[in-house]
């Protein structure tokens, strides 16, 4: 044993504890001094937002995420022309035809000091500068998935690899493809907002709606050139303004080669899929613990982070952190920002963390519904997470969370009808099932009023067709629609187009099926899953009449038990396979 070992052990075993009163006595003097120091005012000047962000290595990394993700937004969704002197097609034509473009991008509230990014676009490359930030330049190569960022003053440069971004050979060309694709989307509609005055110029506006985004585009009423585009995608707002098309550019402005004499920093990677729930929670903890006195940030959207970023940057600079430490912090913040920017859940997320202290285990601060999940994930103030059914959410869904009304029926230049369908199978006495198919028509051809439908069982004749008032609501006001048999299980329905266009686009079909006509396999009556027309979503639910001798399987408090559900499909279709009806003989 070494001479000091015994002493060391004694020190190790020595314990001294202070009671809360002693803690208070010991700390009171220091806390008083700190309070006086605070009252004395340690004012931090609020510098130019981008300058502060970009001079800190940590926030520069996080800012890179913001800078890059803005590159793939701006204009993504445009649509069909609607009646107007100046049509939507005319308004988007300069965009479709442009070889190059220049515009300013603002994320968040324009009047709230949100920073501006200035873009020059040519082919697959974007040259992005930050007004007020001197000579920092970012070149984004959307085809190669790479970014070059450099400073002419500092003679420093860095390459950042983008992961998770599909290769985009030509930005403008890609926009055209997106537009064409969206024009074929059943749910896509365009509204004419009419004439308005903006900065002394008369402009005409169009609102293009898609389930995942809303785009408002404003064009000069005289020249027809777009001047401003506003996009609400998820819970992020982006404005493109000061737009110019076919501006003269030089290839050298978009070069991905580092100029000679520049110091090149180690490459880094920006993974756009790194914004997981876990990364989000890690970022929340970091921002609360390190930068906000234990409180959660006021907001968690990209624009909220941009407001907070200068403070974070300033604090990082004053902390004397090593380069590695700053990079680690920056990456944590970057992945946190990506979570809400590329939100992968269903619907909207809700944040209630403002003013909440880290550790408040009973206070829910954030909740969202993951993709394809029936339940919500609720994050609490101590950052533990629980699953919750919609009825157990901390707050009922408010008006903003309620899904927007379904768009009315629209005509398009394709020959087929497209809709959504829910089938309700009610098992009746004597081994029969009454089927009611609720078809909501979304789009249809311009040159016909006949809707051809194909029933799944030719031996089960169509008994009646009703036109409902609106989709997904109780049918209180219905109109019988005439129909004609055209073949085995096929019928033509006569459509009142004017009523469809006015929003009465739900049609109810009824027929009966004998359970004996269904295959019985492994205890289930198997049924075809086949919609009447191509649909973008399809569901089948079953119920059982108390006198039928059957009952639903499993525990269900609803009259209807879900048997099959297929949410949004990429392209409309009619065949969804087969499924067993979740019913059994009553015990």
């Amino acid at each position: 044993m070494k001479p000091a070992d015994e002493i060391k052990r004694l020190i190790h075993e020595s314990q001294i504890t202070a009671s809360p009163e002693a803690d208070e006595r010991i700390l009171c003097g220091a806390l008083d001094h700190l309070a006086k120091r605070r009252q004395g005012g340690i004012a931090h000047p609020r510098p130019v937002i981008w300058r502060t962000i970009m001079t800190s290595k940590g926030t520069k990394i996080a800012a890179a995420a913001v800078i890059v993700i803005a590159a793939v937004i701006g204009f993504r969704f445009f649509g069909n022309p609607v009646g107007s002197t100046l049509t939507f097609a005319q308004v988007i034509q300069p965009i479709l035809n442009a070889g190059t473009a220049q515009f300013d991008i603002v994320i968040g509230d324009e009047d709230g000091g949100a920073p501006i990014m200035r873009d020059l676009v040519m082919g697959s490359r974007i040259r992005r500068t930050l007004p007020g930030m001197g000579d920092d330049v970012t070149i984004i190569d959307l085809e190669a998935g790479q970014i070059l960022t450099f400073s002419e003053t500092k003679k420093e440069a860095q390459y950042i690899s983008l992961e998770g971004l599909p290769s985009i050979p030509n930005y403008m060309e890609n926009l055209k493809n997106v537009i064409v694709m969206l024009q074929q989307t059943p749910d896509f509609v365009v509204e004419n907002l009419g004439l308005q005055e903006m900065d002394g110029v008369e402009v005409v506006g169009f609102l293009a709606k898609h389930p995942r985004a809303e785009i408002t585009i404003w064009a000069d009423a005289e020249t027809g050139l777009p001047v401003r585009i506003e996009q609400n995608e998820g819970q992020m707002r982006v404005v493109c303004k000061n737009m110019q098309f076919d501006v003269p550019v030089e290839d050298a402005w978009f070069s991905m080669d580092v100029p000679e004499g520049y110091k090149v920093h180690q490459d880094s990677t920006l993974d756009l899929h790194a914004g997981t729930e876990e990364a989000f929670i890690k970022g929340l903890r970091l921002l609360a613990e390190r930068f906000n006195d234990g409180r959660f940030p006021d907001g968690v959207a990209v624009e909220d982070y941009l407001k907070q970023a200068p403070d974070v940057a300033r604090q990082l600079q004053e902390m004397d952190l090593s380069s590695e430490e700053q990079i680690a912090l920056g990456q944590t913040i970057q992945n946190y920002v990506l979570f809400t920017r590329f939100f992968q859940g269903e619907g909207e997320w809700t944040y209630r963390g403002r003013g909440v202290m880290l550790g408040e285990a009973e206070t829910p601060i954030f909740w969202y519904r993951p993709k394809d999940s029936a339940t919500y994930r609720v994050i609490y103030g101590d950052l533990h997470v629980e699953d919750a059914a919609v009825e157990n959410l901390p707050e009922p869904l408010d008006a903003d969370d309620v899904p927007a009304p379904k768009p009315a029926y629209q005509q398009w230049d394709r020959p087929e009808f497209v809709g959504r369908q829910i089938d309700y199978w009610m098992i009746l006495p004597e081994g029969r099932a009454r089927v009611k198919a609720y078809l909501t028509l979304l789009k249809g051809p311009q040159d016909t009023t006949l809707l051809p439908v194909h029933l799944p069982y030719a031996e089960a004749p169509l008994e009646g067709v009703l036109l409902g008032r609106k989709a997904d609501a109780p049918v209180t006001d219905t109109v019988n629609l005439p129909f004609h048999k055209t073949g085995d299980g096929t019928y033509d329905i006569e459509l009142p187009i004017d009523k469809l266009v006015a929003g009465r686009n739900m049609i109810i079909f009824q027929w009966h099926v004998s359970l004996d006509d269904l295959k019985f396999e492994r205890g289930y009556y198997m049924t075809k899953l086949q919609s009447l027309v191509p649909v973008v979503s399809y569901e089948l639910k079953t119920g059982a009449d108390p006198n039928s001798g059957f009952e639903p399987m499993g525990k269900t408090q609803s009259l209807w038990a879900p048997a099959f559900s297929q949410g949004r499909v990429d392209s409309p279709k009619t065949e969804f396979g087969t499924c067993g009806l979740p019913i059994r003989k009553r015990r």
Partner: protein, 180 residues
Amino acid sequence: MEDKLLVYRCKCGSQEALTQIYRKYKADLLLLAMALLNDRSACEDVVHDVFVSFVQGLDGFRLTGSLKGFLLTCVANHARNWNKAQRRRSRAGTDADTGKPACADSPTEAVACNEQIGRLSGAMAGLPFEQREVVMLHLHGAMTFAAIARARQISTNTAKSRYRYGIDRLRYLLNGEATR
């Protein structure tokens, strides 16, 4: 990085950050103070003064090493000052010895010690202060002799010899061994 962030937040006036620093290191600081002074009231006062000085000096403070090492050195400094002042008071006869055992509990003393610290501080009291602090900073604070030497403005060899004499004396006091 954790400590740098806490210091930064203190600089920004965060009482919570200061409290976090205190909670994180209070056991180490109180133990050192107790081992050096063998007086619970005094150890409480010393740690109190260390934190007040820490806050007062925040403006020019820059953390280059470990925060724990810095605070332990501060405790040792303040303990030495307290020790000197105590000796002056004793010489002047202004602070009569009450004969109170070092670890006796009283209603106002809420710093609690276990038996081992009673043995440790009792034995430490038999060492010159200079030896106590080197022994404690090295064994408890895990500071190198070079770092202690820099903090005490003595040579590394002096720090080492103080440590060696201190250990020998402590072993004697604890085990009754003969000193060499």
